[in-house]
């Protein structure tokens, strides 16, 4: 028995090596971007008013899309993981499909439903005079469509891993399934929901194809950061990199606020 130092981190080698490689793989390109960024030209880029409004719009719409996804997606995940409804695997496959759809086609598909000629969009326009495309609402809808499946799948995984016997215990204490869901199931799978919400938010923040198709690219109303980056790429690729770095910095800041304790149970020991 050789005595080793305590609190050595204790990451076994077969995990440490791929973890380091994987981290390098994900982080090195970012380092490349940061190194190559035209730092001298950054100030004028940031001073442009569209940048501020695009950033604000991006954060707002990604957050709204995450909220909408939580509201609609967590119940879907619950149905997939806990209900005895038939055809759950078909349902799961269907709600996963928007992940695979090229986002531009996703935008077209949204038009087919919510556009002025769309299944729901036409009566909405003709009866109420409401049009959805090309509004900020359309941005949120496009982002929700693309990002919600990430939330659904993560939360379903978390629900399946959670011990369902606590729900039995809640039932014996008089909690109906809804109360059980709110007071027991949801708190138990909170780390999984948090992970899903992070994925959903990040995906919504980076959304481009469906947004530019369904919501257009109007500064101040529908031009999110990825759209601004796209336009900058047309004009001045270095500016595009600067804008991406701004987006990165903001999302990094937000993610850093997600400290361990928000993500639930901490490390062993």
């Amino acid at each position: 028995m050789r005595a080793i130092r305590r609190r050595d981190g204790g990451v076994p080698l077969p995990l440490l090596v791929p973890a380091v490689l994987g981290t390098a793989f994900l982080v090195l390109p970012l380092v490349g971007l940061v190194v190559r960024a035209p730092w001298s030209g950054i100030a004028p880029q940031l001073a442009r008013p569209e940048v501020g409004s695009a950033l604000r719009l991006s954060l707002l719409s990604a957050t709204a899309a995450t909220a909408a996804s939580l509201l609609l997606g967590v119940p879907i995940a619950w149905v997939l993981a806990r209900s005895r409804i038939r055809g759950r695997s078909v349902l799961r496959a269907l709600v996963t499909v928007p992940l695979v759809l090229p986002p531009v086609v996703g935008g077209v598909a949204l038009f087919l439903v919510l556009g002025r000629q769309g299944i729901l969009g036409r009566p909405l326009f003709e009866q109420l005079g409401v049009t959805i495309p090309f509004t900020t609402a359309a941005v949120v809808i496009a982002e929700t469509f693309v990002a919600m499946p990430f939330l659904v799948i993560s939360v379903e995984g978390a629900l399946r891993a959670a011990d369902a016997r606590f729900e039995d215990a809640a039932a014996t204490l008089g909690a109906d399934r809804w109360t059980t869901f709110r007071r027991v199931t949801l708190p138990l799978v909170a780390p999984g929901v948090a992970a899903g919400a992070v994925l959903c938010w990040a995906r919504a923040l980076g959304e481009f194809g469906a947004t530019i198709t369904f919501a257009g690219n109007f500064p101040g109303t529908t031009q999110t950061m990825p759209l601004a980056v796209y336009l900058a790429l047309q004009r001045d690729p270095e500016a595009a990199i600067v804008l991406s770095l701004v987006l990165l910095a903001v999302s990094l800041g937000t993610l850093l606020l997600l400290r361990d304790r928000w993500l639930g149970r901490s490390t062993a020991g």
Binding site: V104, G107, V108, F111, G115, R116, Q117, G118, T131, P133, F134, T135, T136, I212, T213, G216, N217, F218, P219, T221, T222, Y230, L231, L233, Q234, R235, D236, P237
Partner: protein
């Protein structure tokens, strides 16, 4: 006012001061700089008027218009996507060609691979980018190569010019066939090598006001400005050809 409500809600009217309301222009992304300048000029001339742009790929814009997007003007980077719109009966008038664009060979600054002309695109040892035949610049490239009797050996068939150009800028391809305006916009990282066959395949940019335009007067004013001499000189300054 948002673009949609602005488009549908406020009906612009002419007054002695000039135009009022909001005119919404759907324009190909490659026109971003020129049109932004022209729009500002129109706003200066008509203090009550707001010009707002929706810059995206021409095909995306055409799809949006077909889906009933409330717009006043459509400026396409190629006649095919304009045809999509006119065939749907959305144009208010016959589209007008307001600019042209020709191909140029783009090489990284300093031309490290020593590319001299179109013939180098047949060299399998070079890393070369062309546009895919489905997009206008690719169609033009095919025509140019057919014309010159060269079989190109590209490593990648890009979806749009910017994607090809990005690779040149990063020095990842030795040469690409892109539009002259793109070479101009890319700045110091990219050098352009014009070639004679290019002139025979001019890519035309059509513009038209739309039938359902919420602001027809403003639409007309913008189209007039783009096709005016002032518009033309701005376009030429950005590297476009006069029609």
């Amino acid at each position: 006012a948002g673009p949609a409500t602005g488009g549908t809600g406020t009906v612009p009217r002419s007054s002695d001061d000039g135009l009022t309301g909001t005119v919404t222009v759907f324009a190909a992304a490659s026109l971003t700089d020129v049109f932004t300048t022209l729009g500002a000029q129109l706003e200066r001339d008509n203090p009550q008027l707001t010009v707002q742009f929706n810059f995206a790929g021409s095909s995306a814009l055409a799809a949006q218009l077909v889906q009933g997007a409330p717009a006043d003007v459509f400026a396409s980077a190629n006649p095919q996507q304009m045809a999509v719109v006119t065939e749907a009966g959305l144009a208010a008038a016959e589209p007008a060609v307001f600019a042209g664009n020709v191909l140029e060979i783009a090489v990284p600054a300093g031309n490290p691979a020593g590319v001299t002309g179109l013939a180098d695109f047949a060299d399998p040892d070079l890393t070369l980018a062309l546009c895919a035949a489905d997009v206008p610049c690719g169609a033009a490239a095919s025509a140019v190569f057919a014309d010159a009797g060269i079989t190109p050996r590209p490593d990648t068939e890009e979806e749009d010019v910017k994607a090809a150009l990005t690779k040149v800028q990063l020095g990842e391809v030795d040469a690409a066939l892109v539009y002259a305006t793109d070479v101009r916009a890319a700045g110091a990282d990219v050098e352009g090598i014009p070639f004679p066959q290019a002139e025979r395949e001019v890519n035309e940019y059509p513009i038209c006001a739309l039938a359902a335009a919420p602001a027809p007067a403003g639409a007309r004013a913008f189209v007039d400005l783009v096709t005016s001499d002032a518009g033309r000189s701005a376009l030429v300054a950005a590297g476009f050809r006069a029609p």
